[in-house]
């Protein structure tokens, strides 16, 4: 039985609401600041470009190497708007793994499906969720010529309903957190079946090994510091079961850990160390779903995410500001869509991006720990204010331009 690493990396940038006051509402309909372009360029230089170069190198050197990505629609939009050469770089990465016979299932770079806007629509509006997933699939097809066959929800927020949804929509695989409280004695290194589904397979993140790389790698007070790819490969080999799911943010490479921590050398040396044993290999998400049988059924009635120690949505929906703003945005859905006004609908959808609610989180605000949560806003209250002012402007446009009087 081969032993595989399934490396999956998530790429996302949101459209951030600029400082937008109640006096802009009804006057200025542009909510998006120039800061997005600067952030994109900065992260691209530190992370996206060098990581893409490293991955292309690895694909060219090791025929067994595979990688899966998820790229949000808002990220692609921002590339098109601010940095087209970055999108070309991602296309080059996908092409480096493209099967010469045109069979998508043999591609060595997979793109996983998700919502276009990195939203939490699944928990608020199923029809809107469907539309955003379809919009994302269309965009991936237009840009990369691929049709997603695996699915991940925003923040890996998963429950049994999502498993069933993905099954009925024909996906082979769906990703979730391998959380101990759900798994009990079971290992995350097998495939599982969500209850009440036919074909879909559940891949669970091995969070311990993923976080060794994503969070602890450059931590000098960590007992295992420094982490070499040889040591890491040995840990991966020691896992009891055939599939190790390493799910990380793309920015792990170059942004969370800067280049001078040695993270790129670590990444580039990993295939060499891992492939030194003949039974070792890499698989994409869909490949793993095709190859391995399910071990058991795993039920997650409650939402589990890959965030925080609680693995829940409390950083997105934990306080009243977040609940209120989410309530208002989805309450408008039907009226907004009925207008057929693509600019209005586009702005409204950008406001469904979950990052806005995240900036309103007060979870760690009281600790004063600026590193716990990244936010472009001076405080969660400012984040809420800018967002609500923008949302009121959306409502203003709706009423002014589209509500028939009389």
């Amino acid at each position: 039985m081969p032993k595989a690493i399934c490396l999956y990396m998530h790429v996302h940038q949101p459209w951030r609401v600029r400082q937008y006051s109640a006096f802009d509402t009804g006057v200025d309909h542009n909510y998006w600041g120039a800061g997005d372009g600067e952030i994109l360029r900065k992260v691209a230089d530190k992370s996206y470009f060098p990581t893409n170069t490293a991955l292309i190198d690895m694909l060219n050197t090791y025929p067994e190497f595979r990688v899966s990505l998820s790229i949000t629609g808002t990220f692609i939009e921002q590339c098109e708007y601010y940095l087209p050469e970055l999108l070309e770089s991602f296309k080059a990465l996908v092409n480096a793994g493209r099967s010469p016979d045109g069979d998508q299932s043999k591609n060595r770079v997979e793109i996983v499906g998700e919502t276009y806007y990195h939203s939490l629509a699944f928990f608020y509006s199923r029809p809107e969720f469907d539309r955003q997933v379809a919009q994302h699939a269309q965009k991936i097809e237009d840009v990369f010529g691929l049709r997603p066959t695996a699915f991940r929800n925003t923040e890996l927020a998963y429950n049994n309903d999502l498993g069933k949804w993905a099954d009925t929509h024909g996906y082979k695989a769906i990703l979730a957190e391998g959380w101990d409280k759900v798994l009990g004695w079971r290992s995350p290194n097998f495939l599982y079946k969500p209850p009440g589904t036919e074909r879909i397979k559940l891949l669970l993140k091995n969070y311990k090994l993923s976080d060794d790389m994503a969070f602890r790698f450059s931590n000098r007070s960590w007992a295992e510091y420094p982490l070499t790819s040889g040591k890491y490969a040995a840990w991966l080999d020691a896992e009891d079961a055939p599939l190790v799911n390493l799910f990380v943010d793309y920015e792990t490479f170059g942004e969370h850990h800067w280049e001078d921590t040695g993270i790129f050398n670590f990444l580039k040396a990993l295939p060499h160390e891992w492939l030194s044993r003949p039974e070792h290999t890499f698989m994409t998400v869909s490949e793993a779903a095709d190859f391995y049988e399910v071990k058991d059924e795993v039920s997650m009635p409650h939402v589990v995410t890959w965030a925080d120690t609680e693995r829940d949505l409390s950083a997105w929906l934990g306080n009243r500001m977040q609940q209120e703003s989410n309530h208002y945005i989805y309450a408008m859905e039907q009226h907004i869509l009925e207008t057929g006004d693509i600019h209005l609908i586009g702005d409204w959808r950008r406001l469904t991006t979950s990052d806005h609610a995240y900036y309103m989180s007060t979870k760690y605000w009281n600790d004063g720990d600026v590193h716990a949560y990244f936010s472009p806003k001076p405080s969660p209250f400012d984040a809420f204010m800018d967002y609500m002012n923008a949302l009121r402007d959306v409502r203003f446009r709706l009423i002014k331009n589209h509500v028939k009087r009389g």
């Binding site: 109640a22 006096f23 306080n319 009243r320 977040q322 009281n366 969660p380 209250f381 204010m385 609500m388």
Partner: protein, 432 residues
């Protein structure tokens, strides 16, 4: 340890927050076992204070009473003319001169006290410019190290103007002669460094606290705010700067402008303002000019239980101060479960995180914050609950701990210096 504390007033004879802060500090220090002699410029019985420390009068003068019948100890020290409300007129100047005379007399009396009683405290702790000269004199006589506590500078009181040069001079002398300076906020520390050119490492920030016992929930039966409460039932949001005096320093005119702007977005806003202080007439006129008189209620003189009830009826507390060294009223407002909007020029903003900030001159920003809070139960709820959770994060006991630490640093340095002098003198004798 033995501490000589020099203050201007203590409750119940206090004219403002200085008396309350220095009382709470001394009380918390005495609970840590510090032996305190607290010297005041007037003579009166302080039942509460005398439970915790010795209160020594520097004179036989009784405390003063103002036109409202309230004790003001040795008088308010705003430096503003009581006739024309100016700070630079003939009367204001002579008033300030009179005031400076009073601080000088206090200094003489403290010097006499220290000499007569042969006081050798481990540390002398002087509060604000009023007692600085006394502190310096006590230091020179006793040889004990001097700690100067800055609750406000003349720049703060002057509200953006230069203020009185004589007072600046007294402050400067005190700051230079001090062995250690305590500032009630980083903001105040920055002013001391910038305006008085004192090295930053000589200054330690010690934020004030609040004694919740002072704020025991009162039984609300007064009819003072019936109209406001009625409008509240109609969906109005009540905004107030709390029990401030209308002086330039407090920036109330900016709040008025912001209210006028905010009312264009949400008309259901009501502003409650006390109407005492030298800007009173100007503010009343301004409300009329802005066309919002109907929704601005002037409350007269607000103190004591009327003030606490004001916080209870207030939904949004605004501190638009141009220069506020600390601003303890924000903590009182937080206790009464209000949303807090603090100017970035207010020191209390350094200890609270569940608040919104604005530059005092940025009236659009302030209006924006008022509108949003008034329209959103989510935002106002998070702000109220958050501030209520954190406003007592630092107690007076924490303040006392920090003070003790500063005292021991100063005492250790004084001992080292004394040893050096002995050495130096011995060397000199050897050469002779």
């Amino acid at each position: 340890m033995k501490l000589l504390m020099l203050g201007w007033e203590l409750p119940p004879y206090n004219s403002g927050g200085l008396g309350v802060a220095s009382f709470n500090m001394a009380k918390a220090l005495s609970k840590r076992g510090v032996d305190i002699q607290f010297v005041l410029p007037y003579k009166a019985k302080h039942h509460e204070a005398e439970k915790f420390f010795d209160v020594l009068p520097a004179s036989n003068i009784p405390p003063l009473i103002n036109e409202n019948g309230d004790y003001v100890a040795m008088g308010a020290y705003s430096g503003t003319c009581s006739v024309c409300r100016s700070r630079s007129c003939k009367h204001a100047k002579s008033y300030v001169e009179g005031f400076i005379g009073a601080t000088r007399r206090y200094a003489d009396e403290v010097a006499r006290l220290v000499t007569r009683r042969k006081l050798h405290p481990d540390v002398i702790h002087a509060h604000d410019w009023l007692t600085m000269e006394a502190g310096v004199r006590a230091k020179l006589i006793s040889g004990s190290p001097l700690v100067v506590h800055v609750h406000a500078t003349e720049f703060d009181r002057a509200g953006g103007h230069y203020g009185n040069p004589l007072i600046h001079e007294i402050e400067y002398q005190g700051l230079v002669m001090a062995d250690r300076i305590l500032a009630v906020s980083q903001l105040t520390k920055n002013i001391i460094v910038r305006e008085y050119h004192i090295p930053a490492d000589k200054i330690e920030v010690v934020h004030n606290s609040l004694d919740p016992g002072d704020l025991d929930d009162i039984v609300v039966d007064a009819n003072d705010y019936l109209y406001a409460k009625e409008l509240k039932k109609q969906g109005y949001t009540i905004v107030s700067p709390g029990g401030v005096r209308l002086t330039a320093q407090k920036g109330i005119s900016y709040l008025l402008e912001a209210m006028a702007l905010a009312m264009t977005k949400n008309p259901k806003l009501l502003l409650l303002v006390p109407s005492s202080g030298d800007q009173r007439n100007q503010i009343i006129e301004m409300a009329a000019d802005l066309g919002i008189s109907d929704r601005v209620i002037f409350l007269g003189f607000v103190r004591g239980s009327r003030q606490r009830e004001l916080y209870q009826v207030t939904d949004i507390f605004v501190m638009p101060s141009i220069s506020e060294p600390f601003g303890i009223t924000a903590l009182e407002a937080a206790h009464s479960h209000t949303a807090l909007l603090l100017s970035k020029q207010s020191g209390v903003g350094e200890v609270l995180r569940n608040v919104m900030r604005f530059d005092y001159w940025d009236t659009r920003r302030l209006a924006d914050e008022i509108v949003n809070i008034s329209l959103s139960p989510g935002l106002s709820g998070e702000l109220c609950d958050g501030a209520k959770r954190e406003y007592l994060k630092f107690s007076w006991a924490d303040v006392a701990e920090k003070l003790s630490h500063e005292y021991s640093k100063v005492m250790a340095r004084a001992k080292r210096n004394a040893a050096k002098w002995v050495e130096f003198a011995a060397e000199g004798a050897a050469h002779a």
